[in-house]
Symmetry: C2
Subunit: 209 residues, 2 copies
Amino acid sequence: MRSYNQYCAVAKALDVVGDRWTLLVVRELLLQGPCRYTDLQRGLPGIATNLLSERLRELEDHGLVQREEAPPPVATTLYVLTPDGRELEPVLRALGRFGTRFIPSPTGDEAFRSHWLAFPVSEFLRDGDPEAPPATLEIHIGDQPAVIEVGRGEVSVRLGTVPAPDLVLEGDGPTVLGLLSGMLEATDARRRGLRAQGSTALLRRLEWS
Amino acid sequence: MRSYNQYCAVAKALDVVGDRWTLLVVRELLLQGPCRYTDLQRGLPGIATNLLSERLRELEDHGLVQREEAPPPVATTLYVLTPDGRELEPVLRALGRFGTRFIPSPTGDEAFRSHWLAFPVSEFLRDGDPEAPPATLEIHIGDQPAVIEVGRGEVSVRLGTVPAPDLVLEGDGPTVLGLLSGMLEATDARRRGLRAQGSTALLRRLEWS
DNA sequence: CGGCATCCTCTTTGATACTG
DNA sequence: CAGTATCAAAGAGGATGCCG
């Protein structure tokens, strides 16, 4: 990217991360941790491969990403955020908070990856009943299932499943997120194809701010 | 900008404000308040005029900027951030905080506008002696003088001058900011062309975090 | 002047194909 | 798997012209 050439920290930041795709590459590394090249491609549907390699090189040049040669049996290169790179998390969080207002457009043809849930869940969801025993909620939206764990006042997400979830939700992105955020009633969600199995009372425990 | 087409708030935010220059236009409106077209041009050295008008139209289309027809005698259009647009401030602050690490490169040929100081000053400077009487510090760097007011634990900046400042600093951007942030000693700053008039003890009252 | 629109050139992006 | 090479299309940058 051509530099803005301004003696201003915002402009300097944009000189470094203002290119198209750059911040989304960082999003992937923040959410997924160390990634192989193809992990990144899967998390960035639509990116051209030449751009991905170019962005990674630029991020490396700026000291935000490090390339690590994984030892056998993996024997591949892993991309990892440096401590400096991890300091982009507040930027990503601020962007996510701002961007939620543009989400509700229900076009439906958009790509979805389950790990993208991690930001909104940790930003907006609260455990409304910290005294109650921990509970788990399994979500099936797109590529992979994810688990939301709630208990002791904390809410967290991770990819994967759990042996005996208290509730399983299955549906498309807008519907599941609408239900989680309380913007959608259970009956409306069901009308939009949501399938729920287990204790839907768990939903009332989650508080969206 | 072409949409990333991802069901993710960060991607949505970047769909809206990820274009080149867009966030800097918002920076100007946040720092300067309502702006005429030419105010924006002055605050955005290097922008092509067609891009500025295009960005303003896009921001308007997304509901982040409003066009207001100022009544005579001004009789010009003013650009103002909407409440939604003002919610980009956390994004700009996060970017500024991240971008400071890329500032020290002292190339020297960069554009500078005094109002750009507002973010770093309000983010990083603290009044180290809240009990002491309020004091004022006038800064002459580039285009216009600015005033830093410190007192009662608060630090603020505004453009303009003050009748009897306790201290006047004159020099280039890196030097003055280096002095304010404590990264530069007074003698080093003087060697780099800084001219100070008044009570330099005031500098020790300012704390940089 | 303030507020753009147009034209032209140059750079960046996106899509696809190909390679060690 | 991890990229590089190629090329058409879109976007950015710069100059200039127009109009109230």
